[in-house]
């Protein structure tokens, strides 16, 4: 066997990451085809299915670009292949940074200031990033079916409560994120107005969604309703630029 010099951007690392990313892509395609076929089978109509797919695709663009930015950020320390893999599979923008930073500091390195890694350090970071996020991937196969059957039987017992139960889940989740938007709000009491930025961005996005709703009512333009969420997301993000310039 040839002894290879380790490099965080070595082609062999791209190949391994590429194989795994291809498998993730294959799983998504498999489930898409399976659901699509079933949808057609039960008479949902190809147009309806197509509309769902296009809306989801358009909506995904802005958050996906944000994920690319995270790849670039992590690539400074870890090279491109590991962040590429990590951000294409389980995890999130914040998780990968925290996991990489914890693994690096455990070896006496400082996140964002690593100029070169040994193969052993690299493998250590890869293990920590992989293992720390591995629970959901096996827990869903273990309890997903039971959990879902439980919800279905609850909804069948009392339909009205079933509807309220389902709305409560969504509202409970959304309320946590609405609260999160205000997590720096208390800084305003100390004269730091930057705590208002997320709240104002959220308000702009909500306003655009309301305007889109009104437009749909007045004009019956279906496409506005399909793209209202991606539009409110992008315009909300865009509004963050002047709002931050004003308050930061």
């Amino acid at each position: 066997m040839i002894d290879l010099d380790f490099n965080v951007n070595s082609p062999v690392l791209f190949v391994i990451a590429g194989v795994i990313v291809a498998a993730v892509l294959a799983q998504s395609v498999y489930f898409l085809v399976k659901a699509w076929r079933r949808g057609v089978e039960i008479g949902m109509g190809k147009d309806k299915l197509k509309r769902i797919a296009i809306t989801a695709g358009v909506f995904t663009i802005a958050p996906a670009v944000a994920i690319v930015i995270s790849v670039i950020t992590l690539a400074k320390d870890l090279g491109v292949p590991l962040p590429w893999l990590r951000l294409s599979v389980v995890g999130s923008l914040s998780y990968e940074t925290i996991a990489a930073s914890n693994a690096e500091s455990a070896m006496g390195l400082t996140f964002g200031q690593v100029s070169s890694l040994s193969a052993s350090q690299y493998v250590t970071i890869a293990w920590v990033m992989t293992l720390s996020i591995m629970v959901g991937i096996w827990l869903v196969p273990l309890i997903g079916k039971k959990l879902q059957n439980g919800i279905i039987s609850l909804e069948n017992r009392d339909k009205k409560w079933g509807d309220i139960f389902s709305a409560s889940m969504f509202i409970g989740m959304i309320s946590a994120f609405v609260g999160y938007v205000f997590c720096d709000f208390s800084n305003v009491f100390h004269g730091d107005m930057s705590g208002l930025i997320p709240a104002l961005v959220m308000a702009v996005s909500a306003l655009i969604m309301c305007l889109a709703g009104l437009l749909v009512k007045k004009t019956q333009w279906r496409w506005v309703s399909d793209y209202a969420l991606p539009i409110s997301l992008v315009l909300g993000m865009a509004s963050a630029i002047p709002i931050t310039g004003w308050l930061a």
Binding site: G91, A106, V123, W127, V128, Q148, S225, L229, A248
Partner: protein, 221 residues
Amino acid sequence: MKKKLSYMDSVHRDGRIWNLSMMLMLFMYPITVGLIYKTLPDWRGFALGLLATAPMYWAVAVVEVLTYVPMLGAGGSYLTFVTGNISNLKLPVALNALEQAGVKASSEEGEIISTIAIAVSSIVTTLIIILGVILITPLTPILNAPVLAPAFAQILPALFGGLGVVFISKNWKIAIAPVTLMLILFIFVPALNSSTVGIMVPVGVLFTMGVSRIMYKKGLL
């Protein structure tokens, strides 16, 4: 004769096979790199790094599975817990699709809609990241431009503004108590921030369910 599986049963069977296979594939990365470069992890760094990271994220993952599976449906859940980016992407995408179709994830139509939305979102994300990786050199100065930084820093507020107004306006009676509670908690408890919002999601969900149950029993909903 073999009994024909229902669609839902076949989703669970396929999901189990895919997810457990993907789990093994994910382990392949550190194992293969270790074998190729004939190296072992720095065990001390590994233990300390894992101890600092895993307990919190393992706990969050358990809570996320319990909270999000009923919202995402079966196919959507199997995919989401492989492809990640739940709250900033997969959940809003599924919620928006279900809301527009006016169905619940637990119905067969909802199951199909949620799966299609999440699968397309995963495919688009994967392809955009691949494009980003290929074009990383020319893209880096553009995407890292200071002028764009505030926009990407505010994705979640921009996302939940649009999504929140739809759900809250339709269910305002249910929303009053949890939104008020979460605002008070996040404004006045300094420990609550972007790293702890994941823990607060089930708190919000359980609280909302409790309040809704009381209101339902009293005939207020």
